[in-house]
Amino acid sequence: MATVTSTKTAAKPVVGSGWPKPPGKNGSNGNGQGRRFGGRRRFSKETYRITVWILLAAIVMMFAALASSYIILSANPEWQPVRMPGAFMFSTGLILVSSATMTAARRRLQRGQSRKYRGWLLLTLMLGVAFLACQLKGLKQLVGAGVFFSGNPHSSFYYLFAGTHGIHLLGGLTALAYLASRSGKVLIGEASEKRLAATDVVALYWHFMDGLWVCLFLLLWFWK
């Protein structure tokens, strides 16, 4: 190991004399000390994507914990299955459609059709709100059937799943609303790239929320 090539020049002193200038394109912004952190930040699409994927990993773990709890408790002899309320079926349809509209919105933006983008985005937003309303309706149907949050676990899980998923979906709705509020503007250059990246990650989150609900729904419906 350690074959060492010795060198001709002595080490440049490092401590205290400032940093060696980085080569190349970044250049200096005029203060003579090499490139500053300050000035304009070059936008990185990666940051958005990495962050959202990490966030999704945490959310997956939490719902995996809740879903495993469900599966473990369903094996309990005291388990009392509850009928799936009709409104949940309808809401599941709504959120599936909203995923399609979100994809459409993203496609439009990629093609630069910002007006159509706005339309699809608003439609997705409305479908999301309708989904939540429908979920509440479903819980109301449960209450009407005498199935409450307290009591046997299967009934509790309806409320728990709809509630925790709903809270996470609210985050998605907020992001959609934010995108929609800025969708009227015509953007160019970096701002436009940024919007595309933001739309990408919001779409990712939204599809994830869709898939998550479908899993929870199937669990509640078939795994009794």
């Binding site: 190991m1 350690a2 060492v4 309990n76």
Partner: protein, 281 residues
């Protein structure tokens, strides 16, 4: 400083190893058939641990002694490691640790991966904050029906025994565990309220009693005597005095006892409890 630190590490190592080798504080005597195997497995493990511990600590003491900064002229050895050593070391430890892991399953498998042998004597154990109830089936070999709705501590029906059930007529519920010597015992472990744990140190056995579950376990005791039974899972304020006894009787005394009716069972059990002494500690 290097020499002092090296010495200190060696002295601490010596002291720690001595504590085990001297056996001044050691297991209480074993009274179960599987206890000897547990003790042997522990001895093997602690020898492996002791060698690894001592080797690492003596090595650590040695390098800090040897490679203390004594001469100003030289430099440390420039090396980024040695892959071959690394691989050898990894394989050696993996083989030792995995072998230990596999050996360490033997007693466990013999008790937990097999049902209780035929001819076992079955007792239901019902723990509660902060006492133990032992439910004997009596002459008919069938436990009377129990129901949580019938539990009434103030009426001394601690396990919810249904008096209208004919099978319950000869059942006894007592606060001491009485088991026969040299005959397999099966315990059905239950809890009324929170999680408790059944622990008799001499038995080399411990198992949680979980509310909502009936956990069957079995073992064979091979020494007559009276032993302390402790709760080993935090169960509330008086956890530290949730105590009872396990009384191991010769076959004749045992069969005489279990055929008695509840009141006589109770009285005779108290006599026997006074007759036998705790081991000397």
């Amino acid at each position: 400083m290097g020499r002092v630190l090296g010495l200190a590490i060696w002295i601490i190592t010596l002291g720690s190893v001595w504590m085990f080798v001297s056996k001044h504080w050691w297991f209480p005597e074993s009274i179960s058939e599987h206890g000897g195997a547990v003790d042997r497995q522990f001895t093997i493990t602690i020898i492996v641990c002791g060698i690894a511990f001592a080797a690492a600590q003596i090595g650590l003491g040695w390098v800090v002694w040897k490679y203390r900064d004594s001469s100003a002229a030289t430099r440390a050895t420039y090396s980024h490691g040695n892959n071959r050593l690394e691989v050898v070391w990894t394989v050696v430890t993996a083989v030792i640790f995995i072998s230990l892991a596999i050996m360490g399953q033997r007693v466990w498998a013999s008790l937990h991966l097999h049902a209780a042998p035929a001819g076992s004597y079955t007792v239901e154990v019902v723990a509660q904050q902060f006492s133990w109830n032992f439910h004997y089936h009596g002459k008919d070999n069938v436990f009377g029906r129990t129901d949580p709705n019938l539990i009434d501590d103030s009426a001394l029906n601690y396990v919810g025994l249904d008096d209208t059930d004919p099978n319950a007529k000869d059942d006894s519920v007592v606060s001491t565990l009485v088991v026969p010597v040299n005959r397999p015992v099966e315990l059905i472990l239950k809890s009324k309220d929170v999680t408790h744990s059944f622990f008799v140190p001499q038995l080399r056995f411990k198992q949680d009693l979980v509310p909502g579950m009936a956990i069957p376990v079995h073992f064979t005791v091979n020494k007559v005597g009276k032993y302390e039974l402790a709760c080993a899972e935090l169960c509330g304020m008086n956890h530290y005095k949730m105590k009872s006894y396990m009384l191991v009787l010769p076959e004749n005394e045992f069969s005489e006892l279990i055929n008695l009716s509840q009141e006589k069972f109770q009285a005779r059990k108290d006599e026997l409890l006074a007759k036998y002494q705790l081991p000397q500690y």
